[in-house]
């Protein structure tokens, strides 16, 4: 697949985020069928993936999804504010979730910054178009919060490395073609200094992906095993032994700017379920509104910092904590408001509410647990002894 990069001198949208947003909203207001299909509540995760990919394909083909990504990697230029504006517009117009395109904002910025330009230039457009999706292989059965103890090995051979090991809780691996794997290229004693990051093709012989059925009834998670899977030198992301830096770059997005994207979909959830609210839930609803306002202000500042070329550093932990609190607050209210959520989740809408509610109880675990975020703040910001 080949995309012709347009003559870039005078692209009005690239220079002007407001004009871009306005044009996108005008298009969304026509309610394109592919958008309508993705905006409906669908209990089956597999179907949700299908409609999301179909939508991304159209967003890419009509150029909307290409803004905010570098031109030499298949984008149309601009910066994170274009992406922030795009997902906000989609949520405002009724899209319920980013689903597995969350990795566009968690993984892709790091691939762009630290990956091999030849490789990423090929793969990013396929990701943006919903053709080839991604997953993140950090956690292992024995390495959860203590990520630096990861054991999956990457052994140097002629022409690259060979990877062997086991990853778990790999979101969307079932649907993904690619996985960014954190593997040990040094010794276990070197801890975080002995890790490197590689792009692995999940369809390669030696890779096995086993879905894990989740407690909320969806099956996003998977266990992935690698048995002597070869990767070429272009598959290394960052430097050899620089895997920790890659992981931190990714987690900084997962904790900071990601709040911007996710809170917009929480707003959507709240808006959709509003009619079912009763006066008994008003305090919970008001409380959710306060938490959402906090995430919006804090993650908005993160997006702005990012657009200006900075990062939040350890302060991303604040956004992560606020985001989790708001997701739980919204769902506390959902539980109080949606009848039958706990006892008879039969129709698609109720089933999705139940999935969301249960998922909101685990958001304090992934991307670095709540305890790890609090530890970061205590140590790096409050500088406690």
């Amino acid at each position: 697949m080949l995309h012709i990069t347009r003559s870039s001198e005078c692209d009005p949208y690239r220079e002007d985020v407001d004009a871009y947003r306005a044009a996108l909203e005008t298009w969304l207001a026509t309610r394109p069928p592919v958008f309508e299909a993705a905006a409906r509540p669908i209990a089956s995760y597999e179907q949700r993936v299908a409609v999301s990919c179909a939508l991304m394909q159209v967003l890419f083909d009509q150029d909307w999804a290409r803004y905010g990504w570098p031109e030499h990697l298949g984008g149309l230029g601009g910066d994170i504010r274009h992406r922030a504006a795009m997902w906000e517009a989609l949520a405002r117009h009724g899209l319920p979730a980013m689903a597995l395109f969350e990795h566009l904002e968690i993984l892709a910025p790091t691939l762009v910054a630290l990956g091999d330009p030849g490789l990423i230039g090929q793969l990013l457009p396929r990701f943006l178009r919903g053709e080839q999706l991604w997953s993140q292989g950090f956690s292992e059965p024995e390495a959860g919060s203590d990520l630096a103890s990861a054991r999956t090995r990457a052994v140097a051979v002629d022409g690259g490395h060979v990877i062997t090991g086991r990853k778990i809780w790999t979101s969307w691996a079932r649907y993904a073609r690619w996985c960014l794997v954190l593997a040990r290229t040094g010794t276990p004693q070197e801890r975080h200094r002995g890790l490197s990051a590689f792009v692995v093709d999940l369809t390669h012989p030696g890779v096995e992906v086993r879905p894990i059925e989740q407690a909320n009834g969806t099956d996003e998670l998977a266990e992935v095993t690698f048995d002597e899977v070869p990767v070429g030198p272009e598959r290394l992301v960052g430097e050899l032994g620089g895997g920790w830096r890659v992981a931190m770059h990714i987690l900084a997005h997962e904790r900071g700017t990601f709040g911007w994207y996710r809170h917009s979909f929480l707003n959507r959830q709240l808006l959709e379920n509003r009619e079912q609210g009763t006066p008994a839930g008003d305090a919970l609803l008001g409380n959710a509104l306060l938490d959402l306002a906090a995430v919006r202000a804090a993650s908005g500042a993160a997006v702005r910092a990012h657009a200006a070329g900075g990062t939040l550093g350890p302060r991303a932990a604040f956004v992560k904590l606020m985001l989790a609190a708001s997701e739980q607050a919204v769902n506390d209210w959902t539980l109080a408001s949606v009848p039958d959520l706990a006892v008879a989740p039969n129709d698609d809408h109720t089933a999705v509410c139940r999935q969301d509610y249960l998922f909101s109880r685990i958001v304090t675990v992934y991307g670095g647990s709540q305890q790890m975020q609090l530890d970061t703040i205590a140590k790096q910001i409050l500088r406690l002894p």
Binding site: D18, R274, G286, A297, V303, R304, F318
Partner: protein
């Protein structure tokens, strides 16, 4: 990128500088006051003892009143509002809240910004509607150079009036928190509105937005003050042979408190950058004030837990911060009633209103657009 890890831009730096300057000016005033304990304590006991002109007026020293006619300008507005955060941190007690609340009315009447201080109406469960005034207005001896301050009284439905000091009785209310509070007694018989209801209605909405934002910032400052005490204590207080700040349970209490402060800081600073109530999403002032009350109380509670018994003494400063948060939460709408009210409103509002409340006006915190 060289700025690595720092979100601060030039704008934020300038705002920070004003905050520091305001803290210094307020601290200087507290140090200069007779018992060195800050204006609040002195006033409840005996500000009347001050000789005329002996107390300097930090609001004038900071040029704060000059900012009030310029609230349409982003920098002036942010500077004017930042004073309140400093006031919370320093436990200072000026009449700034009432002066800010009065500003839209005074402007409508063509009066200068220091012509009057607005009263705040409050519904007492036992006594019904009461009028309160915050800060150093009771200054009969003219110690800070004001020979009695005129008060602005707003009566929704009947306009607002500037009432001269001699038509008013002030009763001190004893609250902790180094906060000067007075109940205002003024007979309704001689009511002559200075601003008629039509104009007062517009001024009222503006004033309420500004006042809630200011109170929220003062709560933020007080919460930050309480947290700073607890963090310092956790570093030095030892139990089991080590500083209590090495225990994860204590560390996490402080980290949560810091998170609540940061949340409130982000929301208040984003709201201060908005050009008043017209530019804000619907009922945003209520969101800001409710968040302030909720987070402010949580911060003080966590700080108290870390301080242990010593934090519960009248001698320790914690209770001043805590009481100030509670008092400010009780004015201009409590967190409990606002939160409940916002929920009820959101449940019944139409989709467009709800959407604009949720996707709030930093409809672009992302701006300014690159040029």
């Amino acid at each position: 990128m060289t700025r690595g890890g720092d979100v601060g831009d030039l704008q934020e730096q300038a705002d920070q500088e004003f905050l520091d300057a305001a803290c210094l000016a307020l601290r200087a005033q507290a140090d200069a006051s007779p018992d060195g304990a800050g204006a609040g304590d002195a006033a409840v006991g005996g500000a009347v003892d001050d000789a005329p002109g002996t107390r300097s007026d930090p609001l004038r020293e900071l040029g704060w009143f000059d900012l009030l006619p310029e609230l349409g300008d982003r920098d002036a507005r942010v500077a004017a509002l930042t004073l309140f955060r400093a006031q919370g941190r320093e436990l200072a007690g000026t009449r700034a809240l009432g002066a800010l609340l009065a500003q839209p009315f005074l402007a409508a009447a063509g009066l200068p910004p220091d012509a009057a201080v607005a009263t705040i109406s409050r519904t007492s469960a036992r006594q019904g509607k009461r009028l309160m005034v915050v800060g150093d207005v009771a200054d009969p001896a003219g110690a800070i150079g004001m020979a009695g301050t005129a008060l602005l009284i707003d009566r929704p439905g009947h306009g607002a009036a500037v009432v001269p000091a001699d038509e008013i009785e002030l009763w001190p209310v004893a609250v902790s928190g180094r906060l000067e509070l007075h109940e205002v007694i003024h007979g309704p018989a001689d009511w002559v509105p200075t601003v008629d209801e039509e104009h007062a209605a517009v001024a009222r909405a503006r004033a309420r937005f500004l006042g809630r934002l200011a109170a929220a910032l003062e709560i933020l400052g007080a919460a930050e003050g309480a947290l700073a005490l607890a963090v310092a204590y956790a570093r030095t207080r030892e139990q089991f042979g080590r500083p209590i700040g090495t225990f994860q349970a204590v560390r996490h209490l402080l980290a949560w408190a810091q998170t609540d402060c940061v949340a409130l800081e982000k929301v208040t600073t984003a709201a201060a950058a908005l050009d008043g109530v017209q530019a804000a999403p619907p009922r945003h002032d209520e969101v800001v004030k409710a968040l302030a009350g909720r987070n402010g109380r949580r911060v003080c509670e966590r700080a108290l837990q870390v301080l242990g018994g010593i934090g519960f003494t009248s001698e320790h400063t914690h209770h001043h911060f805590h009481s100030r948060v509670l008092a400010l939460d009780a004015l201009l709408g409590t967190s409990a009633e606002l939160t409940h009210g916002l929920g009820a409103w959101l449940r019944e509002a139409d989709d467009d209103t709800t959407a604009s409340a949720l996707w709030t006006a930093p409809r672009l915190p992302l701006l300014p657009s690159k040029s």
